[in-house]
């Protein structure tokens, strides 16, 4: 069958995720997807050509940002254009003429359409000559008509035809194929209704969008080394993956009751059995016996969620004995007062080390998905280069507010050693060697180090409110 066109109606949120989500879901189900060059991610409507109707259904069932998918019949910058195109699409809809029950829905985007005007719009389609009965409750087919306007503020309700209205942009028409069923997961994973959550818990929609970037599906093994309260464990396990989690702070995973909080929430979501295990350790001092664990046949993937500026040293000197006592006592519970590490790890160096760690822990084809806090204005592709290493390639990067969601794939089957997480030695790719981790051991400047990644010293910038650097002090001193 030649490719058919499908009209995708997106939810009006997280527009930066629209295309990346389409791509990852296509990858997950293994079908080709070409995003048209004129696809405008800022608009809630997109027309895609797909080989099979089933592919459109996969998108509708898995993409969190899809409200509905329609078989595409026509679009137009004017009313006439739309109807002309719809007439020429007759072969697509003529089979519904004789006896299919139907209904029409009319929607405005940035614009509400009055009841009277809706009736007019529907009447304008009367040339289609549908003879089946109109059934508003359970029709066999639903025809969708969408009018897109440019700006909500300029226009209110109108009963006028849109011609001449400067803000009208485009209209779309098609047959409903499937409502987006993944959107309802946002409600299901609502943090407020979760048995266990904490102040690091991630908003449901983001944790679902991230789960889609990991290509979570049955039989895959996903590792979240900063699992915290488990936000990503629930959504990835919901899509069928097995999840392994660890965190430096056991209290984050446990909460206050005897049964660990993550397991309580996982039980609530029916994914308890897919949480393989939880462990307490510092990812920079990890007990993994070998690499190549979290990926196999491009199935498994690994997740590193928002890096919360983790810390290098597990304890400061003065806490030394406390930590030791706790660890020496075989039955010490680590939900007793925990002394968080205090030495910061410069973010770009940490990110580079985590990429090297992922290369070690993943199987070939496995993925590393993580949020990198960054200053978007300063963000350049080079930032990623500074944390890449041989055998790891960027699949996609997408900016979302102050963060950038990065997906990296292990493209090698060569076995590499784990990183040493030594601040003196940098492990990243070309640009990262010699990065000054703590501000103490800067290496001599050289051309490869000339670019400073935008996420470098993120925390300092954050607290300064990302103001551009003040002119150097010379102007004021002396």
């Amino acid at each position: 069958m030649p490719p058919r066109q499908y009209l995708v109606v997106f939810a009006q949120t997280h527009e930066d995720f629209r295309v990346p989500e389409l791509r990852s879901v296509a990858e997950l189900y293994g079908f080709p997807l070409t995003i048209p060059h004129d696809f405008d991610k800022s608009r809630p409507f997109g027309v895609l050509a797909l080989d099979q109707e089933e592919h459109a259904r996969f998108l509708a069932r898995r993409c969190i940002l899809i409200k509905a998918v329609y078989e595409f019949y026509a679009s137009g910058r004017s009313y006439e254009e739309l109807h002309e195109q719809n007439r020429s699409s007759r072969n697509l809809w003529e089979k519904y003429i004789p006896e299919t029950s139907f209904k029409f829905v009319v929607n405005g985007y940035n614009h509400s359409i009055s009841k009277a005007r809706q009736r007019e719009v529907i009447e304008d389609f009367s040339y289609m000559g549908f003879m089946g009965k109109i059934d508003l409750v359970s029709p066999e087919i639903t025809m969708g008509y969408f009018e897109e306007y440019r700006d909500r503020d300029i226009h209110g309700t109108t009963s006028q035809k849109h011609e001449g209205a400067a803000v009208f942009r485009e209209a779309f028409f098609g047959r409903l194929l499937e409502q987006g069923s993944a959107r309802s997961l946002i409600k299901m994973f609502d943090v407020k209704k979760r048995q266990y959550f904490g102040n690091t818990s991630m908003e449901a929609e983001i944790s679902l969008l991230m789960a889609n970037q990991t290509l979570a599906s049955p039989g895959k093994l996903i590792y979240d080394p900063f699992i915290g309260t488990g936000s990503l464990a629930y959504t990835t396990a919901h899509f069928g993956a097995f999840v392994f989690g660890s965190d430096i702070d056991g209290r984050q995973m446990r909460g206050k009751e005897t049964k660990p909080g993550i397991l309580r929430a996982a039980t609530q979501y029916g994914v308890r059995e897919r949480i393989l295990d939880l462990c307490t350790f510092d990812i920079t001092r990890n007990p993994w016996r070998c690499g190549g664990l979290f990926d196999c046949d491009h199935h498994r993937s690994s997740v590193v969620p928002p890096i919360r500026l983790p810390h290098r040293n597990p304890a400061r000197k003065r806490h030394h004995t406390g930590i030791c006592d706790q660890l020496r006592h075989p039955f010490a519970r680590e939900d007793q007062p925990y002394l968080p590490p205090t030495k910061p790890y410069e973010l770009s160096a940490l990110a580079a080390d985590l990429v090297v760690l992922a290369r070690y822990l993943l199987n070939p084809g496995g993925r590393l998905v993580f949020f990198l806090p960054t200053v978007i204005d300063e963000y350049k592709e080079l930032d990623l280069d500074s944390m890449l290493c041989d055998g790891m390639e960027v699949v996609r990067e997408l900016a979302a507010g102050f963060r950038c969601l990065i997906t990296i794939r292990k493209s090698t089957s060569v076995a590499y050693p784990p990183p040493t997480f030594d601040p003196q030695v940098a492990h990243g790719g070309s640009g990262s060697s010699g990065i000054d981790h703590d501000g103490e051991d800067a290496s001599p400047a050289s051309p490869v180090h000339a670019h400073v990644p935008a996420h470098r010293d993120f925390r300092e910038k954050y607290f300064q409110g990302f103001k551009p650097k003040k002119p150097s002090s010379e102007e004021f001193d002396t």
Binding site: F244, R285, N313
Partner: protein, 112 residues
Amino acid sequence: MVRLITHNLLACHAKGCTTNNYPLKFSNVKLALREADFNPDFLRGFLPRIEWDALVQASRERCSTTDLLKQLHHVLLETHIDEGSMTCPNCGHVYPISNGIPNMLLAEHEIG
């Protein structure tokens, strides 16, 4: 929790402890068997990573003959250690397990 699949993947990582640091020895364990969904694909993908001697040691008599994957599933995924500890055969470091979560943290002097 701690399933034997996890136990099979954890080694002592204290400073300088690089030989004979695996498998960790269980002691004072509270064992539980919990049914889990059988996923042959997942198991097959995992087989190359299994350290067989360690698994046999940890599960002893548990492996019999019939359907090997089913047996493995039972041993690796349905056998849980909820309480107890794991001790490094080399340096003697004790990693406690509480409510199914092993504490693999090291003290500062144990960090390489």
